[in-house]
Symmetry: C2
Subunit: 583 residues, 2 copies
């Protein structure tokens, strides 16, 4: 590709206005442009990086037997009513009516649509297990789109779904996906960690989150980073929680958390994490006389939907109550609102709460956390259930070595895998026939990777003062040719052109800067974009048939003989290929 | 891929209910499934075909220097207001509000969003010409989604846009795209024709449409086609026009056209095509005292927007009036409504109308055509302009050999290319600086290919009684392995498995039917899906180390020695590769 025929679209630091480093660098290097809040174009350089990442993910998915499919983006609203997620997603779902006023939604994820499909395609246990995936656009009507493509209204996600006869089969695929995700993120050189996470609205009994930190990787070379880069990074908080109300004895405090993590605040106020409980308010079943039921459990435990939906008081499928609904019967402005619970909303507790001697209660309503250490558990007559038994520490350590960890605020979620179970197959009546001819609910898993977020995380971890330092496997171009004074010296022009054709013929992805501009502007653009290998051609060196090779990541330069250029580059790429296959 | 791990999802003819052959075969072969009216899943077999077509189009686009980008699917409504297309598209545009009630649309095409992007990226003539493309989902709220994926609410399109300093430069890219489109359709073996077309709402002064007929290609082998296939085909009419009101002298007739083409109806009622004129009602400029202006021109002529927008009475950019607007000032139920025109809406005529001795007037309002042979042109005092001068036959024959042709009803549009000019750059103030430093409007072209429609057309043209007969370049799998009684005879199982691994290792796209079912069901499925090359392995032939090769398209079978299978297939593919590169 010649720059004169390419949409390079680089910008200076002064031309962009963004609070986060990856967004700044994506704008500056001409990868993205904003059309509207949370809505972005991907320019050619951005598309090239996306395609490389997609190709790596595709190969890994194909290699473990997943099949690519494609789900509609517009989906009938009734599917989402059936699963109960229409209310749970609430205003985050883009809603749309067609010309005949039939209601649809724009899909943020595809559990509903895929189980509706599989319900008709799967008849027998012989067809199971089977796993499908796609890499496509998703939509979410974010309240506050921010951090560039990290939290946007329109985003690209790899979403995969697996279908099984039982939990053991799901467990096997789940572990295979966990390994494959690790392999993918390792292949692109991402610094990440896997944590046990809450399933949230997705449902199910176990999930792992892949989180990538936004700190630059430790560099032995010690590049100095501009101060404003660092400043930008500090401002970036991924924390949803905005305000915490704390009632400690009789005092009430209001704390903003945008600078602190929840565990920091707990510490400062002498709350012990292991003493913390949480209340999750869900809709009550129609058979009960209540509107809502509150589930009391330890803060760090996750709900096991299998168990909880067996409870007679709880509506199936489980639906978490919205603030709107709750505020009709409760007064959140009163900080002793916990007392209102036993009057209006019965509390049922998990058995693990019993172990807590002096519990503090927490309630999360939308973006607010309410903590109350004046809460006396023993004085109340809770009914005790075993809602988290499958998530007991013994059970977990049986399969995984990770412990339940707190989410750190300098990280973003880049992937999430879920053991869903039969939440959706139950809602949609998706059965298969087992070996004995009995109809059973299909067991399901789902697995996501945020494409844009992975790219943003890579940039956060790999950059220097000059711009992005792509790992070879994701670089938009492998090699750049920068001629000095090509329009003045014919020999520079000829050699550059010949080299360009030669590299293209040998399937190198090469960008040739043929603009009539100075060398320093060329180098600035190419280093900003992050091309890993740069060839500099000038008249002086050509006298001895030499050109300069410059390494983008460590800025080292060396002279190579023109006739050896091809073999030099090939050797480089083979070296990197070996490094990668060793993973 | 082993069928046991694949979502084959074939259906029998009785299981599908569709009026069009390609839709039936796509459903039956497990390529697509319907989620809702006009909304489809693409199953794995369908995705494989799409990906092959996308890859061919990508290679051709890249080879002529187009660059891939990606435009948002959700776009601010104000962009579409600015271009004037919000009203023109009317109810076909999906409209959506975000949670803050800001209005957006789901893009059916991207002229607005791309010129808005380029307006900021293009400063100088040095950056022009430049061309971008993408292959992504588009949306259209079809009044009557039908014919499977041919007319659907959500569809995949390749859309490309070129940007120029002047018309000559646009002309050059336009001709290159015309050639490239021909090459793409030839590469996949599609029977198609190119016709000069009207630009419609897109705007501009010249466009070509690529149309593909829905008739099966002439087959020398004379396969008998089931009667219900033929019946299905006859029902398939692509004609938008539903009702024609004809006033011939004093009589008024109402004719349904779903079985007939407009030219057939004209013929039956003694209207001569060359005597036909049409009225296009557009909004009047603010400076004029009128609300609307009607443009009178020959039926077969297209508007030259460059010329028409120079007219003082006409609003810039030109906006076609909607029925809603018109019915406020006109009574369409009166069939002499043409007389209302000179009173309320002034008529301005193109000079080519003068040549018509006894004109008949036609007015198309939404889906209705009104024809009036009682219309006396000479009695009216029309002002004559030269609105189609650039489209004079001389001008056209200068560049192209095709003539303006009528659209045939047994065809569908598969591609369309447009010389837009500066309709959108004017609406959005998109300028560049020319050699002399003057600001000038960017000149634009746009180029579309309907991915789903191309696939449907290929199937309409390539099928037999057993199913789809894919051209090699689009087949979801290149080779199928069908073992007979593999679970009874170990030798069949071993040979089939080894062959499968061997072919995979040699990069063949192979499907191995390992299901525990009879051979005839296997063959039925594989021929329905249309795998071009089939290897049949049974115990009897293995005694002499032979297997059967079956050709999907002509059903011929031959015995090949097991040890020669690989070289046999390689030779086949090289032969086809040579055939293709000769195009």
């Amino acid at each position: 590709m010649k720059t004169s025929q390419y949409l390079l679209s680089t910008l200076t630091d002064y031309q962009v206005n963004s609070e986060i480093l990856s967004d700044r660098l994506m704008m500056r290097s001409g990868m993205i442009r904003k059309l509207s809040s949370g809505i972005y174009y991907w320019l050619p350089t951005g598309v090239k990086v996306i395609e490389k990442l997609k190709s790596i993910i595709r190969k890994e998915m194909d290699s473990i037997g997943l099949i690519e499919f494609s789900s509609p983006l517009i989906q009938p609203m009734k599917l989402w009513k059936k699963s109960g997620r229409l209310d749970q997603y609430g205003e985050e779902l883009f809603r749309i009516n067609d010309r005949k006023s039939r209601p649809f939604i724009l899909s943020p994820t595809n559990e509903e649509s895929i189980i509706y499909l599989m319900k008709h395609e799967i008849q027998s246990y012989k067809q199971l297990p089977i796993s499908l995936y796609q890499i496509r656009t998703k939509f979410r009507d974010e309240l506050r789109p921010q951090f560039g493509i990290i939290r946007s209204k329109e985003f690209i996600m790899k979403d995969a779904y697996s279908f099984h006869t039982n939990l053991q089969s799901l467990q096997k695929t789940y572990e295979m996906m966990l390994d494959t995700y690790k392999r993918i993120f390792n292949r692109i050189g991402l610094d990440f960690r896997v944590i046990l996470a809450e399933n949230g609205f997705i449902g199910g009994n176990l999930s792992h989150e892949f989180r990538s930190n936004l700190k630059k990787k430790h560099s032995k070379l010690g590049w100095k980073v501009k101060k404003n880069f660092l400043k930008v990074k500090k401002q970036c908080s991924m924390n949803h929680i905005k305000i915490i109300f704390i009632k400690n004895g009789l005092n009430i405090k209001r704390i903003k958390t945008n600078q602190k993590s929840i565990s920091e605040i707990l510490k400062e106020n002498n709350f012990l994490l292991k003493e913390m409980t949480k209340l999750i308010v869900v809709r009550a079943s129609q058979e009960s006389k209540y509107q809502f039921v509150a589930i009391l459990m330890r803060l760090n435990d996750s709900i096991n939907f299998y168990e909880i939906e067996k409870h007679v008081l709880i509506q199936k499928p489980m639906k978490i109550a919205q603030k709107k609904e709750l505020s009709k019967i409760m007064n959140f402005k009163k900080f002793d609102f916990i007392d209102q619970f036993n009057e209006k909303i019965p509390i049922i507790a998990d058995h693990r709460v019993k172990k807590i001697l002096c519990p503090t209660i927490g309630l999360k309503i939308d973006e607010f956390y309410y903590l109350d250490s004046n809460f006396k558990m023993k004085s109340q007559n809770f009914k005790i259930y075993d809602f988290v038994k499958n998530l007991s520490e013994n059970y977990l350590s049986q399969f995984y070595n990770e412990n339940i960890e707190q989410i750190r605020k300098d990280e973003i979620e880049i992937g999430h895998i879920f053991q869903i179970g039969n939440k959706y197959s139950r809602a949609m009546n998706a059965f298969f026939q087992d070996e004995r001819g009995e109809r059973k609910l299909i067991t399901m898993g789902c697995y996501g990777i945020g494409i844009g977020r992975v790219i943003a995380a890579i940039i956060e971890q790999n950059h220097d003062i000059n711009g992005i330092v792509w790992p070879d496997v994701l670089a938009p171009f492998q090699v750049a040719i920068l001629p000095i004074n090509m329009y003045k010296f014919n020999i520079v022009r000829k050699v550059s052109n010949d080299l360009y054709c030669d590299l293209k013929k040998n399937n190198f992805e090469v960008i040739f800067d043929d603009r009539q501009i100075g060398f320093s502007k060329m180098l600035k653009d190419i280093e900003l974009i992050g091309v890993p290998n740069i060839l500099i051609i000038n008249k002086e060196n050509l006298l001895s048939n030499n050109i300069i090779y410059r390494n983008r990541s460590n800025h080292s330069e060396e002279m190579i003989h023109l006739s050896c250029t091809l073999s030099f580059l090939k050797k480089l790429f083979i070296k990197n290929l070996i490094k990668e296959t060793e993973l």
